[in-house]
Symmetry: C2
Subunit: 333 residues, 2 copies
């Protein structure tokens, strides 16, 4: 059995999205046992269900709440209670579409970092013209140090290889020029750690090229990663909106777009963050999957799939072993 905790209260459309996602996942994955954490009023009707355990709490961290304040004042909140179930060994993975700052802060505080990991990081899968690629860090950290970026590369590579089955993933540093030596101080110094390692490091990648799919792991500071992630979402939506507005102006265009609607729908599905499930927080002592705040039932189901695969492929142990090899390297920083 794969024992996965789901924070039923987390997400813009929770609890209806999370409960529907739980239903989908229980149907799809026969070896799944779900640990649902949330308000009694929300979960009451689930009592007695097979492969489901319920944990009631009346506290919830709101989406826009300060993670620091929540950690101090809402110790019983669904996010923290759910993480406790991982800490005490009752379950093996945690999934939440809630306040991502609180998930990161809670995971570091409750589970702790893996031996040798300086900063846990969020690994997000993004679509490309070929296979999806990992962007790491997508927002767990700001003001990262060069050696942190190196560890992000190590962890992102392990995740993609061991959980997603990508062979020998190519790692690149996100920068403003392909040539070595182009970039800011952070990137130039991180480059040194990579070239001295035995990772499959291919140098810099420009943001223009990340969607071509030629690189598997794109490494950057979390401030930049988060900006890239949200820029991609915002731009994709703006482009489709602009296309719609163009089309309104002419009947023949409208007819054309109606016919092409199926293509656009199919494209949206491919480019959809929902299809790629949640983003794992790599570097803490436990499997923690952060789903998108706007997750619907399908996105929750996919995040649970990522959680199951993380358990199945022993992600935490593999990360620990890989990181152990880097210990000592960045001490001089």
């Amino acid at each position: 059995m794969y024992k996965v905790v789901l924070d039923v209260m987390g997400g813009d459309f929770a609890p209806s999205s999370t409960l529907k996602g739980a239903e989908l996942a229980l149907k799809k994955f026969p070896e799944l046992h779900l640990y649902l954490v949330g308000k009694e009023s929300v979960l009451k009707s689930w009592e007695g269900r097979k492969r489901v355990s319920l944990y009631y709490t009346e506290e919830v961290v709101k989406m826009e709440e300060s993670p620091k304040v929540a950690l101090k004042r809402k110790k019983e909140a669904s996010i923290f209670k759910g993480l406790e179930l991982i800490k005490n060994g009752e379950a093996q993975a945690f999934v939440s579409a809630g306040n991502s700052g609180a998930i990161v802060g809670g995971a570091i505080f409750i589970l702790g970092r893996l031996e040798g990991v300086r900063r846990p990081a969020i690994a997000t899968l993004l679509p490309s013209l070929k296979d999806p690629f990992v962007l790491i860090d997508a927002g767990a950290n700001v003001d990262s140090k060069p050696f942190d970026l190196f560890q992000f590369g190590v962890m992102g590579s392990i995740f993609l290889e061991k959980v997603c089955g990508r062979k020998n993933p190519k790692i690149a540093l996100l920068s403003i020029g392909e040539e070595t030596g182009k970039g800011n101080t952070l990137v130039k110094k991180a480059h040194q750690f990579f070239i001295e390692s035995n990772l499959n490091y291919v140098g810099n990648i420009e943001s223009r090229d990340i969607f071509l799919g030629d690189v598997d792991v794109v490494v950057c500071d979390g401030f930049i990663g988060n900006i890239c992630l949200k820029l991609s979402e915002g731009l994709a939506e703006a482009i489709l909106e602009m296309l719609k507005n163009e089309v309104k102006n002419s009947f023949i265009y409208l007819l054309g777009m109606k016919l092409a609607k199926g293509a656009i729908k199919s494209f949206r599905k491919k480019a959809d963050w929902r299809e790629h499930g949640g983003a794992p927080l790599l570097g803490v002592k436990g499997n923690v999957i952060i789903a998108h705040g706007r997750s619907d039932a399908v996105a929750i189901e996919n995040a649970i799939r990522v959680a199951i695969n993380s358990i199945k492929f022993n992600l935490v142990n593999r990360l620990e072993n890989a990181i152990a090899k880097t210990v000592g390297v960045g001490e001089k920083e």
Copy 2:
């Protein structure tokens, strides 16, 4: 007469794109006098043309050449020779689609910075669902300091208001959360300079929202700005590519897309960097317009239009006055 220098050798498609762009601009702007700088073999046939002066040089900075090395070894290159024409007062504005690092470096070295400006910055106009907005710095600097970001805001605002006619532009800091206090150290410190100023500063903006068009000037470090710029280009191309691939799979889709082609073409035009002309380098002693490396004739014409407007609206003097008011503020940094 508006006296504009055009670096005929600069750009991926130069000199054919630049010469065609020069033709278009001369036709469009009757008060334009063009100073063309480039190889004699390229410009020879232009001898004797009205409203055109020719400056021959055999040296060219290649697109991927190191700007530092070029500045040392190719003093006669078209970029530097063109900037000299601004320096010695023969012409009033400089346009090039060449090596942007060499343009920035050359402009700072040859023209010098405006009194009080710590770091000149590139202001790029990007399309939104409403009016275009300015992203500054789009790549002139990496590792900016908080006060630099403040000056970028001052300069971007002046450019948009005085040259593009936007009334009382709204300025925001690009960050990873709308709330004050969200962001990295750089953004948090820059915020202090903005709230103590009398600029129309509206706080943080998330990258997801920049294309909505509610903010006029988006301020960030040049490393991040350049990544955002190229990410937008890369993603827009990837989305259209994915749409094309979807459409290939079905005849009815194909028919639909054929009909919608006009809409997509019209949309592309709107979202096209070519339509917005070149990006001015703000903060140097002269009007310097950096056109996109992939500029075609239309893009060159538009860059020349931006150059003419910069002269017409006295951009450099206005920037100098605005910056003078900030002098002393950031000295403690």
